[in-house]
């Protein structure tokens, strides 16, 4: 932004002083069930230039807080307390007065970039509007500034793209435009409400970097609202943890991550699968669900989920108590937590599973339950309503080989649009793919008859991503779980016994069988989905992002359940996820997909410790780790731009357009990358080199392994070399 003169050279609040102060904020909504006390007594001081994170699960009151500060809460909300900006009270201002402040001193970035920009105006128009609402400058000057802002947030060709409509931008670009709009008037405070939740990890890394740049350029303080503890660790100076509308712990990011004093914070930290965790201990699970904030019983709202709770906790809700310099926590037991230095493992005892049999060595001899051979799925791109003609091809999956053994979990990772879900659907379809073969339990899907398919569907089941959309809301869960049994002709008595058994297996109560899905929380619904998948005692389950729609504390329980079931029932999982930390926790082997191709595949230890493909390296480095010290010392490989369209993939190596390695190659070295997609070859041996000192890339000399690609760590890159990312 050096080219742009900021609108205001002097700030009303000097760096280091408190710019925004919230004191005893309460927000209550009327509802038919009684008053919803969404926020109960939140206080914090935000210093100029500082970043504070508000962490909590859905319903904890984080978003309501941000809207209340902005004065954009629903009109029915009753707000008490105080919000002061530069020492001036904001609560009680008229809409006209607040409008002067919004967008000028206080700016906001919303979660969903797809819906947060008005579809009928150009991006430029919307930024100009933000500027002209507060400053009487000419349209051409405002337009000029819009171009500079888009340049600052990393939109390529900003002078052209400024005239684009939002739908012509990808999600990541829209979020950049949103940030450009938010910083247009050099605000003092930026509130970012889950700004990267809807984005892919590589795009998340880019956008967080832009947010940091924007903050550096404007000197604004940032309130970062998120549920992602990794993002918190990397972005924030201070943290407020909220539970059931109340702040339960506040402190510096190091205090919260390394010396938490409230069991909820401790449990939350223990429940996140970590990308850099080498052991596969079960995750800490917080039993139950966050409470409804209607008619809260007296006492600490965390009591039903807290193993440390005693009768005193049920009687009186603990106030925030000072437990260290600039560190407060609301727990009657905070002293005990400190003196006994209790960790999540001490507080939340996890069921110890039988040790995982590391059967990697004998994998070759084991039975193969699923194999894909050069599987391709292409969709025609059609045009015209009456005379339809083919105008192109979407190369959704473009030739992949995968093998899944009995009792194994294979993780499939990649950005949205890389073909993961198509792969799953093709397997579930039990049809012949466009090209290549799909072999399920030794049967080629191309030669299956109807009866064969029905028989095989018993052994091949699926768990979907969205536990709300995948359960019929008009069927009680008994019927939902019993449905597959009915299809396969189970008798009524056997069905009933089986459903009850399944409910117990997935950790639900038998008494719940008559309830409808909406009576359950997200995690419980996902358990119903798992029970349905297990009903016919399948051997292979494909899981499409089974935990990505769940809150952290709930997610851990479902992951643990899946692990336990796999061992008890000797299941095989094909586990699709975009969260590489989850995959590291649950999978034995992992395949990384990019634009319909597998670019790296191998055992989890190999791929995570010695990632050899530049794309895998970028993916791993993009994922934030919930550990502030680690986060501060990490270098990120930022990929440029977005995933190319699978209808128009680049020639040669599909990754070359975004490849950081390719950029550093000489024209001569680039030749093979431009000519053909590299084959999967054994990953080069040797110690992983550090990211910074990787030096000149060398052409790999290894070849396709003899035992086939499934046995080894293989990688599809001409210049592959292991790099230490974690």
């Amino acid at each position: 932004m050096t080219a742009t003169a900021p609108f205001r050279n002097t700030r009303q609040t000097a760096a280091g002083d408190v710019v925004l102060s919230v004191h005893d904020l309460h927000v209550t909504f009327p509802s038919e069930a009684g008053p919803v006390r969404a926020v109960r007594g939140l206080s914090f001081d935000l210093k100029a230039g500082e970043t504070m994170a508000i962490v909590g699960e859905s319903g904890s009151g984080k978003s309501v807080t941000s809207l209340a500060i902005m004065g954009l809460h629903p009109r029915t909300a009753r707000i008490t307390g105080s919000v002061t900006l530069h020492g001036k009270e904001l609560l009680g201002l008229t809409d006209a007065e607040m409008s002067e402040i919004r967008g000028e001193d206080l700016a906001m970035i919303f979660q969903d970039p797809l819906s947060a920009l008005t579809p009928v105006y150009t991006v430029g128009d919307q930024i100009v509007e933000a500027i002209q609402t507060h400053h009487s400058i000419s349209r051409s000057k405002a337009w000029q500034r819009a171009v500079e802002l888009l340049d600052l947030v990393g939109i390529p060709n900003p002078d052209l793209r400024v005239k684009s409509f939002p739908h012509e931008f990808s999600g990541g670009m829209r979020q950049r435009a949103m940030i450009a709009q938010a910083i247009a008037n050099d605000p003092d405070v930026i509130i970012a409400d889950e700004p990267t939740t809807a984005l892919d990890v590589t795009i998340q890394a880019q956008v967080l970097e832009v947010l940091k740049t924007a903050q550096r350029e404007t000197g604004a303080a940032v309130i970062m609202i998120t549920h992602d503890l990794g993002v918190v660790a990397g972005m924030s100076d201070r943290v407020t943890v909220m539970y059931a509308g109340r702040p339960v712990e506040q402190g510096s990011v190091d205090d919260i991550f390394y010396a938490p004093r409230m069991p909820y914070t401790i449990g939350l930290l223990g429940a996140v699968p970590r990308l850099d965790a080498t052991n596969k201990e079960p995750l800490a699970t917080l039993k139950g669900n966050p409470p409804s904030v209607v008619n809260l019983p007296p006492g600490c709202p965390f009591v039903p989920r807290c193993p440390l709770a005693h009768s005193g906790c049920r009687e009186r809700e603990p106030e925030l108590e000072t437990v260290g310099p600039d560190h407060v926590a609301a727990c009657w037991e905070n002293e005990r937590i400190r003196t006994d230095s209790l960790t999540s493992a001490d507080i939340f005892p996890t069921q110890v599973l039988a040790p995982v049999e590391k059967a990697v060595v004998e994998k070759v001899d084991q039975e193969v339950v699923l194999s894909l051979e050069n599987m391709k799925k292409h969709y025609p791109l059609m045009k015209g309503a009456v005379l339809r003609r083919r105008v192109g091809t979407v190369y959704a999956v473009d030739g992949i080989d995968l093998t899944l053994h009995r009792g194994e979990t294979l993780g499939l990772v990649g950005e949205s649009g890389c073909g993961k879900s198509t792969t799953l659907l093709e397997i579930l379809n039990l049809h012949a793919p466009t090209e290549g073969r799909i072999v399920v339990f030794g049967n080629d899907t191309a030669s299956l008859k109807r009866a064969d398919k029905k028989r095989m569907r018993r052994d091949l089941q699926v768990v979907f991503q969205d536990p709300m959309a995948s359960l019929d809301p008009r069927m009680p869960i008994f019927d939902i779980i019993a449905e597959p049994l009915g299809v396969h002709g189970w008798s009524k008595e056997k069905t009933e016994a089986r459903v009850m058994e399944l409910l117990k297996t997935v950790g639900l109560e038998e008494g719940h069988a008559n309830r409808y899905p909406q009576a359950f929380s997200g995690g419980q619904r996902q358990r119903v989905g798992i029970a349905r998948a297990l009903a016919l005692e399948p051997e292979l389950i494909v899981l499409d992002e089974p935990v990505s729609a769940l809150d952290v504390s709930i997610q851990a329980g479902v992951i643990n359940l899946l692990e336990e079931l796999k061992q008890r029932l000797n299941l095989s999982y094909l586990f699709v996820a975009h969260d590489l930390a989850v995959i590291r926790h649950i999978a034995d082997r992992v395949a990384v997909m990019y634009l319909g191709k597998i670019v790296e595949i191998g055992s989890v230890e190999e791929v995570y410790n010695r990632p050899s493909h530049p794309y895998t390296q970028a993916l791993l480095s993009a994922i934030p780790i919930p550990d502030p010290t680690t986060e501060r010392s990490r270098t990120r490989i930022l990929l440029r731009g977005d995933l190319p369209s699978p209808a128009n993939p680049p020639s040669g190596c599909k990754f070359r357009t975004r490849c950081p390695l390719f950029e550093g190659l000489t024209a001569e070295q680039r030749t093979p990358c431009l000519e053909a997609m590299p084959p999967l070859v054994t990953a080069p041996a040797g110690e992983p080199v550090a990211l910074e000192s990787s030096g000149v890339p060398q052409r790999v000399t290894t070849t396709v392994p003899e035992g086939g690609v499934e046995t080894d760590h293989v990688v599809a890159c001409y210049y592959a070399r292991p790099v230490k990312v974690l």
Binding site: L72, A107, F110, P119, T133, H167
Partner: protein
């Protein structure tokens, strides 16, 4: 865009031709103009009946295909839409009636749309307040009332008002008075306006009611959308955010409705025409069927189809104008 529209029009022209041909077949096979003459008293000579029917190209004794070719030739070579069984020219009748319909519905249609959108948007912003509830109740009553009831009631009220003021303020028979007009400047125009007020009011209320429901719903969706919140977060006051962001976006589907409504009003204002004795297209459509006027039925169908297709093209243009996502792709 122009190429796209031309292609679209060509597409529609083919569809229209097929639709009208089917209507022609249906009319030729299902209507029996011969009966009109057979019941005459004194009876007509069968040969003269046949001659009359042949002159109108509606004799069932001529093979269907021959009749079809004659009909097509008439239209494409001479723009002749045939005649009634009685011998009157259908094309002439219709070209007169089109303008009657046009004069009748245009103002009501535009006014109804404008007021419907405005009131719909306004009530959405004031959702569940007294004003919203009252207007919504009135509008629901209007929607539920058939237009002939609204028409008759408006006539009764007008009669009462006419009595109260002591002269004929509202006139409601036909487009204009027959006989001599009073002698003052613009007397003819004033007379026409007096005739227009009531039917226009009925059509306006009818259009308004439908659009208010549609626009209120669309507006509520738009008001709850993220981009309105973004606009507010930029510092736009509520009114401006609502007008500039919510209403503008909520107008997109209304554009389609608006265009198609024009088409249906042109040939569908039957009750209004009958009640206020306007000799328009709607009433003609009903008359042609009851009078076994085969060529009339086909011509009315063709005109209705044409209106509909113009509505469709108009809708395309409206949407392209309102929605950049369509414009570009």
């Amino acid at each position: 865009m122009v190429k796209y529209l031309l292609l679209r029009i060509a597409n529609y022209a083919v569809l229209l031709f097929i639709a009208v041909s089917l209507a022609w077949v249906l009319a030729q096979t299902q209507l029996h103009p011969r009966q009109l003459f057979e019941v005459r008293n004194p009876p007509l000579d069968p040969q003269s009946i046949e001659n009359i029917l042949r002159a109108a190209n509606v004799s069932d004794q001529v093979p269907l295909w021959d009749r079809y070719v004659t009909w097509l030739k008439g239209i494409f070579l001479h723009w002749d839409w045939g005649s009634t069984p009685g011998g009157a020219d259908v094309g002439e009748e219709i070209s007169r009636r089109i303008w009657v319909s046009f004069r009748l519905v245009t103002i009501g249609w535009l006014l109804g749309t404008f007021l419907g959108v405005a009131i719909g948007a306004w009530t959405a912003v004031r959702q569940y307040k007294i004003s919203d509830r009252v207007i919504t109740a009135i509008v629901l009553l209007l929607v539920a009332t058939p237009s002939y009831v609204t028409g008759e009631v408006s006539k009764m009220v007008a009669t009462v008002i006419n009595k109260q003021v002591g002269f004929q303020l509202f006139l409601f028979l036909g487009e204009k008075s027959t006989g001599t007009l009073p002698d003052y400047p613009l007397a003819e125009l004033v007379d026409r306006v007096q005739h227009m007020v009531l039917p226009t009011l009925v059509l306006t209320l009818f259009g308004l009611a439908g659009l208010q429901r549609l626009q209120r719903g669309l507006m509520l969706d738009a008001l709850g959308s993220d981009f309105v919140r973004t606009a507010r977060a930029k510092g736009l006051r509520e009114n401006k955010a609502v007008m500039k962001h919510a209403l503008r976006t909520a107008l997109i589907p209304t554009g389609t409705y608006f265009a198609f409504q024009a088409a249906s009003l042109f040939v569908g204002a039957t009750y209004t025409e009958r009640i206020f004795a306007f000799q328009g297209m709607g009433i003609y459509g009903v008359d042609t069927i009851s009078k076994q006027n085969i060529n009339g039925v086909v011509a009315v169908t063709a005109f209705g189809g044409l209106c509909y297709l113009i509505g469709a093209i108009l809708a395309d243009i409206m949407v392209a104008f309102l929605d950049p996502r369509v414009r570009l792709s």
